[in-house]
Amino acid sequence: MKKLMIKTVILAVFVAMNLGAKAQLTGRQIVEKAYNLPTGKEQTSTLTMTLINSRGNTRVRKIKQFKKDFGDVEKKIMFFISPADVKNTSFMNWSYDSDKPDDQWIYLPALKKVKRISSDSKSDYFMGSDFTYDDLGDRKLDADVHKLLREETVNGIKCYVVQSIPKDEDYMYSKTITWIRKDNFVGVKKEFYDEDGELLKILTIKKVEKISGYWVITKSEMKNVQKNHKTIIELSNVRFNTGIPASTFTERMMMRGL
């Protein structure tokens, strides 16, 4: 549940940023530009996650989320709306610009208390979906070694194809390959390879919209090709810079809920 806002929603929440660079960029530079796309100081949205299993059965999770950048710390809070058994659960994350690990808390209405939880579980799958916390969040740029493999045209769009190999050999992916648009550094597709080097998952960006001047991926699909199940994430009610008070990101609001 760590990094779940939209910039955030996928490694590739990539907003338009035309650099007009003539010189050939390195793999790291391309990924850095994609990571650093502007997403606004504040953001509010509703996230709907549809989990589809191999038989086509669906389960739906709905979350209302808020994010605010305080300079050296970015705070996010999420309120679970459905399904009914997790309703009123809330989750808060404080992410630091420094190397300090995130702080995270969860409020479980049945326990009636806010619990601090470990942020050391970025490889866990989020709410049973096909997205890990790392897939959803801003994985640190230098956690991987990036290499530009080639340039390729996908559906008529010119893309960089970048391979990223984690520095941590025990990481759940042996490598990822990302297709990033040359014109605006928005992600188009990403492949995830398991520890044996076999293709595990494919992330496909289905819809990108410009909202309040920011490009936002409003629909994406992650498919596990080994187990033949997938997750579709859709964002709605996306709003930027609406003046979210700092008091939103407190224990008080976690317990009070929406």
Binding site: L51, N53, R59, V60, V73, S82, P83, A84, D85, K87, N88, W94, Y96, K100, P101, D103, W105, A110, L111, K112, K113, V114, K115, R116, I117, S118, S119, D120, S121, D124, Y125, M127, G128, S129, H229, S247, T250, E251, R252, R256
Partner: protein, 417 residues
Amino acid sequence: MKTKGLFLTMFLVITMLVNAQENVGITGFARTYEGVNLETGDFSIIQQTLNLSFDKRGEKVAFKANPMVYHYNSDSLSFNLREIYADMYFKNFDLRVGKQQIVWGKADGVFITDIVSPLNLTEFLLPDFDEIRIGVVSAKMDYYIGNSTIEAIWIPQFTPTKTPAPNSIWYIKPEFPAPATFDWSKDKINPSLENSEFFLKYSAMTSKIDFDLMGGYTWDDNPTMHVQKHFAIDTTTMPPQPMLTGLTITPEHHRLTVGGASFSTEIKGIILRGEAAYYDGKYFQTTDPKAQDGIVKKNYLHYVVGLDFSIGDLKLSTQFIQQYILDYNDMIYDDEMINTATFLARYDLFRETLHLELFSYIGLTNEDALIRPKITYDFDDGFSILLGANIFVGDENGMFGRYQDNSMVYTKIKYSF
């Protein structure tokens, strides 16, 4: 049964009326719970539950009402208004007035500074914790300063721990050396300003550590048993000896002053938690012949330290708990120290639709345990099927071992809406 039927009818009518109102949220669950005693094959419990929660919230005010209906066996109906309160929101503080459950502290499954809401132990520690806690009629104010909170609570009417009835499988019949009669005249605390309970807590949530400091001027939720012995002279012995012929036992709740603290922090991916409460004067039973009413007042410490961590996808949590009577002497009936541990392992499979869990209380002093494995399958969103067991093992004098005849397997099917 007529009264209960009327109650239920009113309850359903109110539900329909509230449902007809706009903007009142209704959530809750329906649950069936059946348990079978492992030794006898008899049903330990046959329980159907309907839990309804009505919420309405505006910008400045809110209310919640949470009635619950328990249906036992084929004919026994129990209604419980678990919570009903109103909230008022101000810029820097909130007020909550009414019957409410209040939860304090950082420990899981044990109650250290979490002493505001008393416990319903009629089914020992087996129900979910939100069903073990009893709501208290109180006024609570939370004042917020940044990420810190000062919480003040006033409880005008004392509510004691609810214990099992004598016909319950969880009732432990006390043993006396002579026939005992009970005098219940001092068991009740009349609601008054003088008899009110007060609690105060300061809590802070920071990037390095979360911590609470608490204090309470309260009543002991469990009554102290004042024992008066009656003697006769045994003339059959030479010389004649005094002979114990009977006991008068007077349960009485006493005032307690409690101070405590708790913290929670993360160290290299591991959550370290701690919590302690110090009781300034708590009564204990003693065999000291000079002690009045067979009781002695001692200070008492109750604390826990715990860790939460993961090994791969396996989530683990463990706690060490100690109860310690200060200035102890060997005539006190309770042990000087009682050490307990808890252990929790949890593993989720199949995209978090199948959950395996093992939770245990381990009595280190008496070498006994309650082992609680369970498997939960989320058949659909909000619909779960649970198969579990409660295994009591170890020393019959221990808190858990004493219930070894009550080991059971059970199933719960729950639909949340």
